[in-house]
């Protein structure tokens, strides 16, 4: 187990290193020279003085390997990635880490509620379908799943806004759902949930479709195994056979997918945040692009990639816990 963990973490570090190279290559190599790069870092409101300072601070006129080292470790003037420094958002004149600190709870709240919701919907509908394949319920769920699988997130989000916010409020005078905004959990948990219901539903329904299908096929495979027949022959109740014996084995592929999906969400539910004006990581990334504010984009991309890498390691560990047949070596 310990050996596995060490190897897995080293692998994660390697992937992260490659991600930094990719990001560096994308943002810091430009045929038009250091001025263009400085302009990107400085944002669209940058003054010539600022651009000059950026070129000095980032060492943009130095050879690439030195620049990359500055990017990783930093210079005397600023901390690099390894020292937790993500640079300054020159457009708003604040450190990028502050922006991430403010945005992360919003994205995290969104991801938390939505992922619980879609896992429940996906698992329940998938299991019900698998227990009675080709039944009416199975066809019903798979048709619904196909429909939402084909539905782009922003289309569903906006249609929900149109119906549940606008039509309800203006035509029916039922102000049930707010259009946008975020209330911090620590301030008012009820308002927090209230403001997040529509975004949660949007994300959950779109994502659940894939899980319905995944849970169904995984469960069908498992239910065909010999040990399930044995469990039935022992006289266990069907409920126990399906939920205790079947589900445990069927969960493995679902856990993999779930880990990746949640990690991607933590990196920023870009579209959902945009639709509901939730100022999370994804929203900030899109905003930063409009301001040509590279440090923020870079920071969010790095954080988001880190989330995926960590999630993959966690998934591998959960694997072993769920399925004793998996040996971690």
């Amino acid at each position: 187990m310990a050996r596995f963990l060490v190897r897995r973490i080293l692998q994660g570090v390697l992937v992260m290193w490659l991600v930094t190279i990719a990001a560096f290559g994308l943002f810091f190599i430009d045929p038009n020279g250091p001025d263009d790069i400085a302009r990107r870092i400085g944002g669209k409101a940058a003054t010539p003085q600022l651009l000059h300072r950026i070129i000095e601070n980032y060492g943009l006129r130095q050879p690439l390997y030195k620049q990359y080292w500055h990017f990783l470790y930093g210079t005397p003037h600023r901390a690099g990635l390894l020292r937790g420094g993500l640079g300054t958002d020159y457009y708003f004149q604040i450190p990028v880490t502050h922006i991430l600190r403010d945005a992360a709870p919003i994205t995290f709240s969104l991801a938390l509620g939505a992922s619980i919701l879609w896992l429940l919907i996906g698992l329940a509908s998938g299991i019900l379908s698998a227990v009675r394949p080709r039944s009416f319920l199975d066809r019903f769920f798979t048709t619904i799943a196909l429909f939402f699988y084909s539905m782009p997130t922003f289309v569903l989000g906006l249609l929900l806004l149109l119906v549940f916010y606008f039509e309800f409020t203006t035509k029916l005078h039922l102000a049930w759902f707010p259009a946008a905004g975020y209330v911090d959990f620590t301030k008012n948990p009820l308002q927090w949930a209230h403001h997040l219901i529509l975004p949660w539903i949007t994300l959950a329904v779109v994502s659940a479709a894939a899980y319905t299908r995944l849970a169904r096929s995984s469960m069908l495979d498992v239910l065909g195994e010999d040990y399930i027949r044995t469990a039935r022959a022992k006289g266990l109740s069907e409920r126990r056979v399906v939920l205790r014996h079947g589900l445990r084995a069927a969960l493995t592929p679902i856990v993999t997918q779930f880990g990746i999906d949640v990690a991607v969400l933590i990196g920023g539910a870009v579209v959902t945040e945009q639709v509901f004006s939730l100022q999370g990581l994804g929203y900030n990334a899109v905003q930063a692009i409009q301001n040509q504010d590279l440090p923020v984009i870079l920071g969010i991309v790095i954080v988001a990639s880190l989330a995926v890498v960590v999630a993959n390691i966690v998934v591998d560990i959960i694997y072993a816990v769920l399925d004793p047949r998996v040996r971690l070596t």
Binding site: L146, V270, V271, A285
Partner: protein, 327 residues
């Protein structure tokens, strides 16, 4: 359903070797060998959902091709703004079913005409992206699987990285660095992030195929690696690649629309479904002009739905034993 050639009186019955007897039509049915492609096609043709979705896709293609016809009939050019008739007295866009069949947008342009032109972008990006993605993925997968060792590890790590980078964020960042905008850029960005899944599938297949005897035979005849990869192995993975490609089209269409929705895809004034939906959200415009949100949304949904059902049918046709994506 007929099997093979029926009633070819001049042909010999292959089983008996005798001319077919007129009185017994069953005997006249020549048993004809049918390759896997033909079998797949016939399975697809018998699947009602696939046929219907194929017809819908065809209609969408016709609409896209005939976009100028819509413009001629309505008399509204794709980027033409009708400030006078396109706006009501209160300044809001004109509703549907009048002078504008599907209403006007905030700039007094015809939503129907723009939808038809927008279909061109969606279909083009969907098809070209899938083709490019599959091409890159197949080559990478073939190389990783067949050449193995160092090549496999390098490609494997690249795949890890592409799967670790949150696609939308990076796509948005890339589009911003490149100035955002053209159809070409959108296609390249989407393909850059999509190929890794194809490569994984192809690699897995190649790993088992390369141990077969006929590959060894090819090698002993002096065939080079490239020849073996593309002439001997590739035809055996092509069915799976096609299945994947057909399911990739709707995914690419949604991704393209999403990039446009976020403002980093195809730039205005080019008519684009994602951009139209985005414009409908600006300043809560959809609250006074529901048609501007609903019709592009429907167009997008119908298109992806049709492609998904069709892709699912293609998968089923090539591998009927595999679990279908949807019933």
């Amino acid at each position: 359903m007929t099997i093979g050639n029926v009633g070819g009186a001049a042909e010999l019955d292959l089983v008996s070797g005798l001319p077919p007897v007129e009185e017994a039509p069953e005997a006249a049915k020549v048993i004809q060998g049918r390759g896997p492609w033909r079998l797949a096609f016939e399975r697809l043709r018998r699947d009602r959902a696939s046929v219907i979705s194929a017809v819908v896709i065809l209609l969408i293609i016709i609409c896209a091709a005939a976009a100028p016809v819509f413009a001629t009939i309505t008399g509204h050019g794709v980027n033409q703004q009708f400030r006078l008739i396109g706006e009501q007295s209160n300044g809001f866009p004109t509703g549907p079913f009048g002078k504008f069949p599907l209403g006007a947008d905030d700039q007094g342009r015809d939503v129907l005409v723009r939808l038809a032109y927008g279909a061109r972008v969606s279909l083009l990006v969907g098809v070209v992206t899938s083709a490019l993605t599959v091409a890159i993925g197949a080559v990478m997968g073939l190389m990783a699987g067949y050449l193995g060792r160092t090549v496999d590890s390098i490609i494997g790590r690249i795949i890890d990285v592409t799967l670790s980078i949150p696609f939308l964020l990076f796509a948005v960042a890339l589009a911003s660095v490149e100035g955002g905008g053209s159809v070409t850029l959108v296609v390249i960005v989407l393909a850059l992030f999509g190929w890794s899944s194809v490569a994984r599938i192809v690699r897995g297949q190649v790993l088992s195929i390369k141990e077969r005897e006929y590959i060894e035979a090819a090698r002993s005849l002096g065939a080079g690696s490239w020849r073996i990869m593309f002439i001997d192995i590739f035809p055996n993975v092509i069915a799976q690649v096609i299945v994947y490609a057909s399911l990739l089209i709707p995914l690419s269409i949604v991704s393209e629309a999403t990039l446009s929705y976020l403002g980093v895809g195809v730039q205005p004034p080019t008519a684009d479904w994602g951009a139209m939906i985005s414009a409908a959200q600006q300043g809560g415009l959809y609250q006074v002009a529901w048609w501007y949100l609903v019709f592009p949304s429907l167009a997008l949904l119908i298109t992806t739905l049709a492609f998904n059902i069709f892709g699912d049918g293609v998968r089923d046709a090539f591998d009927p034993r595999a679990d279908r994506l949807f019933v």
